[in-house]
């Protein structure tokens, strides 16, 4: 954060900084409304996927509706609840626009962002939070329909519900940090669409958004377990369904990933800052 440190504006006190971030989040949450028709198509696409997953899981499950895999006893109902929740949650946490950075770099507004009296990463972070908050009502609106074409299960206990909330927060922070890291690529290349597509597809799969880790073949599960993506989707939902023996340990792993990714982001940012090229002017 070399540049930030030299800016006198960095001396803003915490309260004023928080107010600035809240303002950015508010503005970004409103931009969502401008894309309402996108939301409709997005929701229909989401419902199609939920329905497809239900049909496919139903067709492959044994006729008695239960199977055991690597110590997990999974019922068809639980599996459908998993895929329904995973699809909705993943679509909210991992929008196609993973970070505001590429757009800001491409149109040159990054120069304005850098001149503002609050940190660049903070602006991008809270902008993205605002974007999520703007989308959240739509996701909540789509949820009952998703449950209708897919399925749902109540959390296994009240304690589980609490742990799920905690784990969901961890999953969201990991999603945000991963997205921010991907956004940084824009400082090295403007041609980021292809990279983001590869990232999205890989992360969706490794997050367990399509197949939960317990149904993955051993080698793939091994890879997924050692990567941060599973923390975004698989961990919260497995906690919700009571499928994880050590839920607290899993949440601890999420916390470690949040810390590691945050440090990594700081490191990448310190390099990226030297590469800032402002387009236009």
């Amino acid at each position: 954060m070399t540049l930030d440190a030299t800016l006198p504006a960095q001396r803003l006190d915490l309260g004023r900084r928080l107010r600035a971030y809240a303002g950015i989040a508010r503005v970004l949450s409103r931009t969502v409304m401008a894309y309402r028709s996108n939301f409709l198509v997005g929701s229909l696409g989401l419902l199609m996927q939920v329905f497809l997953l239900r049909v496919v899981w139903t067709s492959v499950f044994p006729s008695d509706g239960r199977t055991t895999t690597g110590g997990h006893a999974v019922t068809l109902g639980a599996q459908i609840a998993y895929s329904t929740l995973a699809t909705v949650q993943f679509s909210l946490f991992s929008p196609w626009q993973v970070s505001m950075v590429p757009q800001r770099v491409r149109d040159g507004t990054v120069a304005v962002d850098l001149a503002r009296p609050v940190g660049f990463n903070g602006q991008m972070f809270f902008g993205q939070v605002g974007f999520t908050l703007g989308n959240a009502p739509f996701a909540l609106l789509a949820l009952p329909f998703a449950i209708l074409v897919g399925g749902a299960q109540p959390p296994s206990s009240a304690g589980t519900a609490g742990l799920y909330a905690l784990s969901l927060l961890g999953g969201y922070l990991i999603s945000l940090l991963l997205g921010s890291l991907m956004g940084m690529v824009a400082f090295w290349t403007l041609e980021i669409q292809g990279i983001l597509m590869v990232y999205r597809m890989l992360s969706q799969f490794l997050a367990g958004a399509l197949v939960p880790l317990w149904f993955m073949p051993g080698w793939l599960r091994g890879i997924s377990q050692w990567l941060p993506f599973q923390g975004t989707t698989y961990t919260p939902i497995a906690v919700y369904l009571g499928q994880l023996g050590g839920a607290l340990r899993a949440i601890g792993v999420q916390a470690v990933w949040v810390l590691v990714l945050w440090l990594l982001l700081r490191l990448v940012w310190s390099r990226a800052l030297r590469r800032v090229t402002v387009q236009g002017g």
Binding site: V41, S59, V60, T189, L196, M197, M201, M216
Partner: protein, 276 residues
């Protein structure tokens, strides 16, 4: 004029198309690394769907009685047909944009068909990635199943791919034609694409009967790959339809594209310049 030229269209159609396409291709080749990355994105997009299927089959043995090889064959057939359609027609997706910006006005004043000019305004090289991915999956699937490789069967396969491309194309062309009346209808086209993409690569027998009927007669996804794959994999016995319908599936494409072109011809009359 024997070569199809008229006073209004003094340049032969094929030559005009070649010229326009060549210019678009030269423009696109200026962005080679971007093309490669977008291509990789396309491969990842299709690859994830197949990875999901293969994990499931690896765990449970089959989907609806279809082995991994058979599903890969079906999936590959769908993606190949999609890629084949997309290469020459990717620009249909921006028709509403060209109308809004007034670019379409130019097409009407030039000595070539407006549809041809729209389709050759840009070449989207990443679509080649879809075709290559499709063919790779198709070949991989075919090598796993006992596929009839007689000339007759291979000819049927080729016709099925072209027919499937035309089925998807007819829906997209008809939907795009509505742009002349509704200024933004990208949502509709993305929705159709979503249906094709979600359901096109799965054996439709696993779906509830209402869904099957919709995917056969309302949005004719079944004609893209499922019905011809049933014929080539000797699975017509599992269909609720008579086997001859499946055999005739490749004919649906030419029929539907003719209808879609008719829709284009009637809708373009409603074109009003945006004045920009």
């Amino acid at each position: 004029m024997a070569d199809g030229t008229t006073a209004a269209n003094p340049i032969p159609r094929r030559r005009a198309y070649r010229l326009l396409l060549g210019a678009a291709l030269r423009a696109q080749l200026q962005y080679r690394s971007n093309t490669l990355l977008t291509l990789a994105g396309g491969i990842a997009y299709q690859g994830v769907g197949l990875a999901f299927v293969s994990v499931l089959v690896g765990r449970f043995g089959a989907i609806g009685g279809w082995s991994l090889g058979e599903i890969a064959f079906l999936y590959g057939l769908r993606v190949t047909a999609h890629g084949l359609w997309m290469i020459p027609t990717s620009q249909l997706f921006v028709l509403d944009l060209t109308i809004r910006t007034g670019e379409f006005d130019r097409y009407l004043t030039r000595p070539a068909g407006p549809l041809m000019q729209l389709l050759s305004r840009e070449v989207y090289l990443a679509t080649i990635g879809d075709l290559l991915t499709g063919v790779a999956i198709l070949v991989a699937g075919a090598s796993q199943v006992d596929l009839d490789t007689s000339p007759g069967a291979l000819l049927y396969l080729a016709l099925a791919v072209v027919g499937g491309a035309l089925v998807e194309g007819s829906l997209q062309l008809a939907a795009a034609s509505l742009s002349f009346r509704m200024l933004s209808n990208q949502s509709l086209r993305l929705f159709i694409d979503g249906i094709m993409n979600n359901f096109g690569g799965y054996p439709l027998k696993i779906f509830p009967s209402v869904t099957r009927i919709v995917l056969t007669f309302v949005v004719p996804v079944a004609f893209v790959a499922y019905l011809p794959a049933n014929v080539l994999l000797h699975r017509t016995g599992e269909l609720a339809l008579a086997p001859w319908v499946a055999w005739c599936a490749p004919l649906a494409g030419p029929l539907l594209i003719a209808l879609a072109y008719l829709v284009w011809r009637t809708q373009i009359r409603h074109y009003q310049s945006s004045g920009t």
